[in-house]
């Protein structure tokens, strides 16, 4: 799905950026990107989004070399990516509902489709009571959830989330991660940049660690088979509770669709 080969991006004559990054992410994988502040995680995301061009090296997404996408085609490429931005990047003059709907409107989705999908994702992210608020009328965590909802509403094949839980409390964090997990189980490739060590450790997924722009660790955490847990089990795992096997007896598919963590 994603292929970086010798990608280097240095910000004007500094050492900051990304240096000679080479890695591959397969379709359907779940990848954590970790590293200290300023390590280059967001830079990597920006390169993937073609917000800027690498100084050297090749980036391929779904087999396509990003440098070959013309300026006119960039919007169509971006529609295949759901992105949760570290600074949310909400449209300040739109309500929560309209912010999320906008991601569908750009694709030319019908009004019917929008009316069906947007309330769904807003309920899932626990924003049902804030539909008509403007971003400046939301708490930090609520803004972050809007950003998450907007990234998900499209059901994109590739999902980039930059620090998606930095402003969220532990319960909501688990809810969001469960959502990511469920999306990943449905076939979406997910890349999450995060500082939350606890979460990374508990999730036991593949981790790429950056340090000063260089990849210093790339490990597929073994021991735990992928796609083997239900969302509820996964949530328990996140909470550090013992495996909630009994819960599996209650319809697990239901638990997958609706999630207590978001019931405000």
């Amino acid at each position: 799905m994603i292929e970086f080969r010798g990608v280097t991006k240095a910000y004007d004559n500094t050492t900051a950026g990304v240096h000679d990054a080479t890695f591959t992410v397969h379709r359907g994988e779940f990848l954590f990107l970790v590293g200290q502040t300023g390590a280059g995680k967001s830079t990597l995301m920006k390169l993937l989004l073609k917000e800027m061009e690498p100084d050297s090296g090749v980036i391929r997404v779904a087999g396509r070399d990003l440098s070959e996408i013309t300026h006119k085609k960039v919007p169509y490429y971006r529609r295949n990516l759901g992105v949760v931005f570290q600074d949310f990047k909400l449209l300040p003059n739109r309500t929560v509902y309209d912010n999320v709907a906008y991601a569908l409107q750009v694709t030319g989705a019908s009004r019917k489709q929008i009316r069906r999908q947007v309330p769904d994702i807003l309920r899932l992210t626990g924003l049902s009571t804030k539909l008509h608020n403007y971003p400046h009328q939301l708490s930090g965590g609520e803004q972050q959830r809007v950003s998450v909802a907007r990234a998900f509403v499209n059901h994109p094949p590739l999902l980039l989330a930059d620090e998606p839980t930095g402003n969220l409390d532990p319960d909501t964090t688990i809810g969001i991660m469960q959502l990511l997990y469920r999306i990943n189980k449905a076939g979406t490739t997910v890349v999450v940049a995060t500082h939350d060590e606890g979460m990374v450790n508990r999730m036991r997924r593949r981790v790429i660690e950056l340090q000063g722009g260089q990849i210093v660790r790339d490990e597929v955490a073994g021991g735990y088979g992928r796609d083997s847990e239900s969302t509820a089990e996964f949530g328990a795992l996140m909470r550090g509770e013992p495996s909630p096997t009994p819960q599996r007896l209650r319809q697990p598919s239901e638990a997958d669709l609706f999630d207590d963590a978001f019931a405000d």
């Binding site: 989004l49 960039v74 919007p75 931005f85 909400l90 449209l91 003059n93 906008y102 750009v106």
Partner: protein, 299 residues
């Protein structure tokens, strides 16, 4: 259709949510249309006045003292068909004498019943600038190369030259400078409106950046802005025109006297003028919005 209505809704929402930039753009259009709406008729009025002053230049055709009634009738007919002639006024020798007597009683008192004055045609040329060609056609150059009146019954053809040249030049200068001003003002207006639009878009550049990042195409972003410019331009134009119409009714009707003083105002009608202004303001606003956006779309 769905998409068009979406763009329209977006434009309206944007106007509602960004009152200051919208108001500023509207004000710019309003002021500009207002200034132009006052300026253009005023220019035409001034031009008309200048023309009117210039038209006071007359050409006199003095008949020969011995000219018969038939001669006079023939010459009059001929004059009326001549190019550049706007009006011909016949002054009989008796009328001429009466006029002169009133002006110079002492001088004419001595003459008693004698009348030294000929029958005269006073001709107003189409415009002061045509005086010379009118003179040329009234006094065609003969084989000798010297001009002579076109009819033997004419004693002399004369233009009141003394002040003519000066008046023609002065009024010409007035017309020229006023025309240049109108042009300058129109260019300045367009620059100012597009300036305002660029500025109000600048205040929304972050918004455009985010739109691009979530996959909006350039045209998807641009259309609402163009429609917004269109709506604001139309609104600004409409308000300006309402104000102009009000001014026309209240102030201009009082100045009616002045306007009618000028014989050939040759003015554009109020209707077409405002139509033109509205179209111009809408066009500038919409094009301004669309084009100014270009630089913010390079994300």
């Amino acid at each position: 259709m769905n998409r068009v209505s979406f763009f329209f809704k977006e434009a309206l929402r944007s106007i509602g949510r960004n009152p200051i930039p919208s108001f500023a753009a509207l004000m710019a259009v309003l002021i500009t249309v207002l200034v132009l709406g006052v300026f253009i008729p005023a220019v035409q009025l001034a031009n008309g006045a200048a023309d009117d002053v210039r038209s006071r230049v007359q050409v006199s055709v003095f008949m020969d003292k011995k000219a018969t009634k038939a001669d006079v009738a023939r010459v009059e007919q001929r004059l009326q068909r001549t190019e550049h002639v706007k009006s011909v006024k016949f002054v009989s020798k008796e009328q001429a004498l009466a006029e002169q007597k009133k002006q110079n009683p002492e001088a004419y008192a001595l003459l008693g019943k004698m009348n030294p004055l000929p029958d005269t045609f006073r001709i107003t040329p189409d415009s002061a600038g045509d005086t010379n060609s009118l003179l040329a056609s009234l006094m065609p150059k003969g084989t000798s190369g010297k001009g002579a009146p076109f009819d033997a019954a004419i004693g002399e053809v004369k233009a009141s030259k003394s002040e003519t040249n000066k008046i023609v030049k002065i009024t010409g200068a007035v017309k020229l400078s006023i025309g240049a001003l109108a042009l300058l003002l129109i260019v300045a207006s367009i620059l100012l409106i597009s300036n305002t639009i660029r500025l109000s878009l600048f205040s929304r550049r972050r918004e455009v950046e985010v739109m691009k990042l979530v996959g909006a195409t350039d045209s998807f972003i641009r259309w609402p802005f163009v429609i917004e410019g269109l709506i604001l331009g139309a609104m600004g134009g409409a308000v300006a025109i309402a104000m102009l119409a009000l001014a026309k009714v209240t102030i201009l009707s009082q100045l009616e006297g002045i306007a009618t003083l000028i014989s050939r105002p040759d003015m554009i009608a109020f209707g077409p003028l405002i139509g033109l202004l509205v179209l111009a303001s809408i066009g500038v606003s919409a094009a301004g919005s669309g084009l100014s956006l270009r630089r913010f779309l390079r994300v």
